[in-house]
Amino acid sequence: MTYAPRDWRAHPPLIAPDYKSTRLRGATKPLIPIKQSLSELTGPVFGQESVGELDNDLTKNGRKDGAPLGERIVVCGTVVDEAGRPQPNMLVEVWQANAAGRYIHTVDQHDAPLDPNFFGGGRCVTDDQGNYRFYSIKPGAYPWGNHPNAWRPNHIHFSLFGPSLCTRLVTQMYFPGDPLLDLDPIFLGTPEAARDRLVSQFDLSLTEPEFALGYRFDIVLRGPGETPMETGR
């Protein structure tokens, strides 16, 4: 099979001037179309064997001497393709700031505390129905240097391969009702009609009593390409 093209009505442009870093880093010449070949229709295969025991529980995989601070959350969703078909056994990699809005990455110099018991990176694999689930702490907002008084909304970074190189996706999950969304040049760099696909939904049915708030974030990967038209002979 081949894959439907990247839908540029959904994906952000390469240059979004309000997000300053794009000005010098986004490609400026038109992308050259490529006929999908075996090189694009294949891709790395990662399954359950690539996930360690605590990888899907960010409340535990960074512990030194206690539990991390913050609001415990459980994030669940279904990975499907554009035809609605569940994508089983797919790797989902995630990383995020801690509850105070600080990343463990050494480059992050934001004056907010690190949490000695929170690492912020993990991964999981979708089950045979395409469902994934991981536990974490709700990430905090943090300032960044894009413009005066710029703050990133709360978000979790996601990375997925899907079944081929065509379906590769790196994205960010946001939280419902965040007032920073309407001020964020990265979120606003996304075509308006598709922005709500990046916002998770609070879901009481996923919420675990006495334990963790549930958020649902479904992910749609590129689906099958159209059947090639028969050409006359």
Partner: protein
């Protein structure tokens, strides 16, 4: 019912501990991939590929993540869609951030891929697919590495030939002068990725 593709967002500046933890020395998480694709049971020509990512000012990008995907030396992919199978022990996937090398290069140790035949013949010259991510790039970009010492195969490659002649050179990795020993005597190819400017690398809408 389809809701449409989930939009891409930038990988941001802080991917390293989540996606390349071992390379950046974050011990809490194991890496799923590294910049060394070789494995003891794969024969073939060992090669090194190194390069930098340059922004529109010509400044070296120190927070990009580069992924590569390639066939084995017989041109076979480790994936069920490659019906020939037989690719054993060579996964063909590598991942490298540009933040740990002193010159902010990405450096992959791999083996040279074989020509990739889609329809029974060897209709694509040896090549490696590259995916580029970085802060300031909202949607990832695809490009390809071809090899300067495969001129005959390159001249027949349908993808290279679809690129305007004056831009083809941006896809061809040059073989570095021999004599430098840093790669243990294996051939070293140089492939810089220019995001903008006259030498802007060709990126594909895959």
């Amino acid at each position: 019912m389809s809701k449409g593709q989930t939009p891409s967002q930038t990988v941001g500046p802080y991917f390293a501990y989540g996606l390349t933890p071992e390379q950046y020395s974050y011990p809490a998480l194991a890496s799923i991939a590294s910049a060394n694709l070789r494995s003891p049971d794969v024969a073939g020509q060992p090669i090194r590929i190194e390069g930098r990512v340059l922004d529109g000012n010509g400044d070296v990008v120190n927070d990009a993540m580069i992924e590569i995907w390639q066939a084995d030396p017989q041109g076979r992919y480790a994936h069920p869609a490659d019906a020939r199978g037989g690719n054993i022990g060579f996964k063909g996937f590598g991942r490298c951030g540009t933040g740990t090398d002193a010159e902010n290069r990405f450096v992959f140790d791999t083996v040279k891929p074989g020509a990739v035949g889609d329809r029974g013949g060897d209709d694509q010259a040896p090549h490696i697919t590259v995916i580029v991510f970085m802060r300031g790039l909202l949607s990832h970009l695809y490009t390809r590495i071809y090899f300067a010492d495969e001129a005959e195969a390159n001249a027949k490659d349908p993808v290279l030939q679809s690129v305007p002649a004056e831009r083809r050179g941006t896809l061809i990795a040059a073989l570095k002068e021999p004599g430098r020993d840093e790669a243990g005597g294996v051939p070293v190819y140089r492939f810089d990725i220019h995001m903008q400017g006259d030498a802007e690398t060709v990126f594909f809408d895959v």
